[in-house]
C-alpha cells in the first residue's frame, strides 16, 4: 500500500512574512480588550485555512487543523471539562516549553463537544483528509495535577470516558481518523497497563480508524502489550532515541505504523540518504506506513517547517515510486 505522509498535530501559529493577521498580536489585543473574541475567532479561522493550504501544498496526505487555538495538548479540553481549573506554568516534558497545568478539583464531567466545531470548520476547508487529535487519557492525567480523585487509575479511567464522548462526537462530525497523543508513556513505561486501560475506554465503540502517537522517546519493552489492543495504528518517534528502531528489529507488525522520521525539535535537515533508508526499512514492516515529523511542528520556527516537510515528502515519494 502507498506510504502516506502526515503530521502529529500542531503547526507554527505565527511566522515572519505571512499575510494572514498575526495570532500573537490578535491575542495580545484581545487580552488588552482592544479586540473582540469574535474578531479573534475570525483570525483563528483565517490562520486555520492558511495552515491547511500550506500542508496540502507541501504534499501532506493526512493533515490536521494545526491546533492553532491550542496552547498545548491538554488545556483546551481541560478548560471546557467541568471539574478542572487551570493552574500555573510547568514544563512540557523535557522541552524548554511550558504549559499551564490543569488541576482536577472536582468530579470531571464532559458537558458538550470541545473540538467538534473547529474540526468541522477545518474539514470544510480541506481537500485532504483531516485527522482529529486528542490527548490520550494517561497522558492527560500525567500532565494534570489531581487534588480530587487522589488515585491515578480512577482519574485515567474518568478521562478515558470523557475522551470517548469527545471522540464519538468527532466521529459523528465526520472524522475518519482519530489520534490520541500518548507522549507521557515513553517516560513512565511501567504504567503501560494503565495507559492501555485508559485507551480502551477512550476508544470504546469507535468505528473510525483510531490509534496513538508517542513521541520524545521510545516504547522499548512495552511495545507488545500495545500491539495486543484493538487500535488501528501505533505511532513511534524514530528521532529522539534509537529504541524504536531496535524494537521493530526483524519483526513485521499487522497494525498500521506511524513513523516520526524527521526531527521537529531541531532546525537541522536530515541526511537525505539516511532518511530514505529509514522510510524504506519501515515500509517493509507494516501494511500501512504513515511518515511524519517525530512530534508537533511548533517547536520549530515557521521558516523551518517548509523545508523540513518538503524533504520528508520528497523522501517518501522516492521510496514509494508514486507519481503525484
Amino acid at each position: 500500500m502507498a506510504i502516506l505522509t502526515t503530521v502529529i498535530g500542531n503547526y507554527p501559529k505565527i511566522g515572519e512574512g505571512l499575510t494572514t493577521p498575526s495570532i500573537r498580536q490578535a491575542i495580545h489585543r484581545r487580552d488588552q480588550k482592544e479586540m473582540t473574541d469574535e474578531i479573534l475567532e475570525k483570525i483563528f479561522q483565517e490562520n486555520t485555512v492558511r495552515v491547511i493550504r500550506e500542508q496540502e501544498a507541501l504534499g501532506i496526505d493526512i493533515i490536521t487543523d494545526g491546533q492553532i487555538r491550542w496552547e498545548d495538548i491538554v488545556t483546551p479540553l481541560a478548560a471546557k471539562i467541568q471539574g478542572f481549573k487551570i493552574n500555573g506554568l510547568t514544563r512540557f516534558f523535557n522541552n524548554n516549553v511550558y504549559y499551564r497545568q490543569p488541576v482536577v478539583v472536582d468530579k470531571l464531567v464532559w458537558k458538550s463537544p470541545v473540538t467538534v466545531e473547529t474540526f468541522r470548520f477545518a474539514k470544510s476547508q480541506a481537500t485532504h483528509t483531516v485527522k482529529a487529535v486528542l490527548p490520550a487519557p494517561f497522558t492527560f492525567a500525567a500532565l494534570s495535577e489531581d487534588t480530587f480523585y487522589k488515585d491515578e487509575k480512577t482519574l485515567v479511567l474518568a478521562l478515558g470516558d470523557i475522551l470517548n464522548q469527545e471522540a464519538k462526537a468527532l466521529e459523528a462530525a465526520g472524522a475518519s481518523i482519530i489520534q490520541f497523543d500518548e507522549p507521557a508513556l515513553v517516560f513512565q513505561k511501567e504504567k503501560v497497563a494503565l495507559a492501555i486501560e485508559g485507551l480502551r475506554r477512550a476508544m470504546a465503540g469507535l468505528k473510525v480508524k483510531k490509534g496513538i502517537r508517542t513521541y520524545f522517546g521510545d516504547l522499548e519493552g512495552i511495545f507488545d502489550p500495545l500491539l495486543d489492543t484493538e487500535m488501528d495504528f501505533i505511532g513511534l518517534d524514530f528521532v529522539s532515541t534509537e529504541g524504536n528502531r531496535r524494537i521493530l528489529g526483524k519483526r513485521i507488525i499487522s497494525k498500521a505504523l506511524g513513523a516520526g522520521c524527521i526531527d521537529a525539535r531541531n532546525t537541522k535537515l536530515e541526511d537525505p540518504r539516511k532518511l530514505k533508508a529509514l522510510i524504506q526499512e519501515l515500509s517493509e514492516k507494516t501494511p500501512q506506513l504513515y511518515v511524519s515529523p517525530n512530534c508537533g511542528l511548533e517547536f520549530l520556527p515557521y521558516q523551518s517547517v517548509g523545508p523540513k516537510l518538503t524533504q520528508m515528502v520528497q523522501a517518501v515519494r522516492e521510496c514509494d515510486g508514486r507519481a503525484r
Partner: protein
Amino acid sequence: MAGLLTTTVGSFPKPEYLQRARDDFYRGKLTREKLNALEKQATREIIQKQEELGLDILVDGEMYRGDMVTYFAEHLEGFKISGLVRSYGNRYYRKPIAIGKIRRKAPVTISWFTFSQSLTKKPVKGMLTGPYTIMDWSFNEAYPSRRDFALALAEVVHEEALDLQQAGARYIQIDEPAISTRPEEIDLAIETMKIVTKGLTAKTITHICYGDFEKIYPQMLNLAVDQIDLEMANRDFALLDLFKKRPFTKEIGLGVLDVHRHDIDSKEKVKRGIKKALEIFTPEKIYVDPDCGLKTRTPEEAFAKLKVMIEARDEVRKELNMKPQLTERK
C-alpha cells in the same frame, strides 16, 4: 557568627523606559548608542537599589540581556538566531541555532561586570549561562551530538569565567536551569561544569530550577561548584527534607521567595524557610535569595519581596543572637 548573606539570582525587572527603548531599538527607531546609555542608566539604578535594600552580594541586574541563552549566542561566533518559537501561552522567543564552530570572538560580559562593580563597594557576582543549558535551549545544526555541542560551549564559558575572575569577580555564578530536564544527562552537565570552573579560585555557584531535583540528587552534588542555588519557596521548602536524609555537601543558595507569584511573600514563611535550613546547614553555608530571577515581576513587586526577605533574615539573626555580618567589602 557570620553567615546568612543575602543575594539575588541575577535578573531584575527592566524599568519601563528601558523596555520601550528596547522595542524602539528592534524596530530601528533607536540607535545602539542610545539604547546602551539607557542600559547603563538602568544598571546604575539597580545597583543603587540593591544597596538601599541592604543586599550583601549584588548583581548587575542584566538590564542589557533579553533571554539568558540568546544573549550569549548573539555574542558568540557560530550561532545565528532563529525566527520566533513559542515558549508558552502567547509568549515567543528567538532561539539560537548553532551553525558553525562556537568561538568567543571577544569577552561577552566583562565590560558590564567592570562597569557595575565600579559603582559599588559590595561584591558584584559575575553571571554566566552554563554550557549544558545553552546547548539544551538551542537548535544544533553544527555538532554531531548534544555532547559535542555542550563540550564546545564549556570551553567558551570557561574562557569567559576566567576573564571575569581576572576582572575581579569574587563570585561567579554559572546558571544551569536546564540540568533537571533530562536526568539521564546529568553526567554530561557534570562533565561540562568541570571544564567551566577548572582553575577558578573565585567562589562558584550554579543555579538550577524547574526541578525534579529528586531525580538528580545526590548526583548533582558532583557539579564542580562551591554552591548550588535552588528554588525552595515554591514548594514550601520540602526539598530540605531530602537533604536531611542525604547530606547536602555544598553551600546552599536558599530560594525563599516564590518569584512566579505576584503577591508578596510573608515574612513568616521566609523565616520558616531560613530556620528550616539552619537545622541542616551552618549559617555561613547558607546564602538567602529568591527562587529565581526577578525579571518577570514588576519593579514594585520585586523590591517589596526583597525587603521582606532581608527583614526576615535580620529577624532570624537577631533571634539566634547572631552578630550582623561585617558588611562584605570588596
